[in-house]
């Protein structure tokens, strides 16, 4: 049995915000760095680079994932949506709810929250505790979460406890 050659670079083809992207990437490059540096999509933020803060959350094949814990090469054949693709030209209704509720101060964490929320099914969440559990993978150093929870509850029609 012949084994394939281990490589340091890899040609990938993926869909990013609806556009096909073909690039050669270093296999050690993180997906987050590919998105920011190679594609110039700097709305995806890097807080911790080890999977704790959620600032780097993007949507990969329909799931919210941490882009600092995936390799760019693993995006080959997959579809990615970043905050730029989520909001398009205007703000999504969740982003508008964030604005109304003052759910951001510096805004560094916000793209990650919006990415996480964008793929969540509101019908899975019936109370504030559920919302808090959902967003527990996204850290915010400014707001104390109160207004983020308020924004999500308002948007999804959940009565706050």
């Amino acid at each position: 049995m012949s084994t394939a050659q281990a490589v340091s670079h890899f040609a990938i083809s993926c869909e990013v915000n609806g556009t096909t992207v073909d690039r050669v990437v270093a296999v050690r490059q993180l997906l987050a760095d590919f998105i920011r540096e190679d594609l110039g999509l700097t709305g995806t933020h890097l807080g911790c680079e080890h999977g704790v803060c959620g600032a780097c959350t993007v949507v990969l094949d329909g799931e919210a994932v941490r882009s600092c814990l995936a390799l760019a090469v693993q995006a080959d054949g997959r579809s990615i949506t970043t905050i730029e693709g989520l909001s398009g030209d205007g703000l999504t209704s969740m982003q508008q709810a964030f604005r109304r509720a003052h759910a951001l101060q510096c805004g560094f964490c916000t793209p990650g929250f919006i990415a996480t929320l964008s793929v969540a099914d509101p019908s899975d969440y019936h109370d504030e505790a559920g919302v808090r559990q959902l967003i527990s993978g996204n850290l915010c150093r400014c707001t104390g979460y109160e207004n983020i929870v308020a924004a999500v509850c308002e948007e999804w029609g959940i009565e706050r406890s």
């Binding site: 999977g51 959620g54 919210a64 390799l71």
Partner: protein
């Protein structure tokens, strides 16, 4: 905070993956969901020469029922996918109870069942679950397959009985009814690793309870002294209290910035009371 240099292989089949592990052995690390390995690469705590990405090995994804009351998870089955399956909830409810405590939803979307067990973090839920249920880990290398019992699989922190060229291919768990299982853990925040956790599984045939603590030592541990106290007994408050203090006495807790040894012993005591209390009230129904 970027991964060091390594070479990369992306096998499309289990056969190719095993060949890669055979060829690179010690120098290679299999990459499952990356939720533990990639942080270790970013911190440069892991410096494999070759990374074998298993994400395209379709044979390793999926769940099946090898018997009427058992469930088998392909190693690369994403935790989030398993969490959503009704088949898992009905066959082995303990899995559905514990999975939501594995990291956050974004981690579980990529993190895999087999990856977490092979990584063997002493504070992780899935190794403890596997031990408490008396599961079987199936491992393969280019030569063949081994079936390993969960008792004895976890050798130390991040250390298992897997050989360098072996891949964990699936995990088989006996289905135990909802009323015969209980689980509780205490973590600083939702999604953090537990400072301590306890799993209890009633072995109906033998009126015995398997008790496992995690987050307190180098591996998830059975609590034999507490189990002995429970053997053949009704779960009365007095019996539960005796078992809980035996459990707290028999663990050898690690100390870290989250909790010192005394705190962890106290947590084990409280958690054993909690899970046995739950088992007791379920049993009485």
């Amino acid at each position: 905070m970027k991964p060091p240099l390594f070479l990369y292989l992306r096998p499309d089949s289990l056969e190719e993956a095993l060949a890669a592990m055979h060829e690179h052995g010690d120098e290679a690390r299999p990459l499952a969901g990356g939720q533990s390995l990639v942080p270790m690469l970013n911190f440069r705590l892991a410096r494999p020469e070759v990374l074998v990405d298993l994400s395209r090995v379709e044979e390793l994804v999926g769940t099946s029922c090898p018997g009427p009351s058992a469930i088998s998870f392909g190693a690369m089955t994403p935790q989030r996918a398993a969490e959503r399956l009704e088949k898992v909830r009905s066959t082995c409810p303990l899995v559905s109870m514990m999975l939501p405590f594995v990291g956050h939803v974004q981690n579980r979307a990529r993190g895999t069942i087999g990856g977490s067990i092979a990584h063997a973090d002493p504070a992780a839920e899935l190794p403890a679950l596997c031990l408490a249920l008396g599961g079987t880990v199936v491992a393969r290398n280019a030569e063949g397959e081994r079936r390993l019992r969960a008792d004895g699989f976890f050798g130390g922190p991040f250390t298992t009985a897997l050989m360098p060229d072996e891949l964990l291919t699936s995990v088989e768990l006996p289905g135990v009814r909802r009323e015969d299982v209980a689980f509780a853990e205490i973590a600083r925040r939702q999604g953090d690793f537990a400072m301590a956790g306890v799993v209890a599984v009633r072995e109906t045939a033998q009126t015995a309870v398997r008790l496992v603590a995690f987050g307190v030592g180098g591996t998830p541990v059975r609590l034999p002294r507490a189990e002995k106290i429970l053997e053949g007994q009704e779960l009365t408050p007095a019996c539960i209290a005796e078992a809980a203090s035996a459990a707290a006495g028999e663990v050898d807790p690690i100390e870290d910035l989250h909790a010192d040894g005394r705190t962890r012993r106290a947590l084990v005591d409280a958690l054993v009371r909690r899970v046995l209390g739950e088992l007791g009230s379920e049993g009485a129904r």
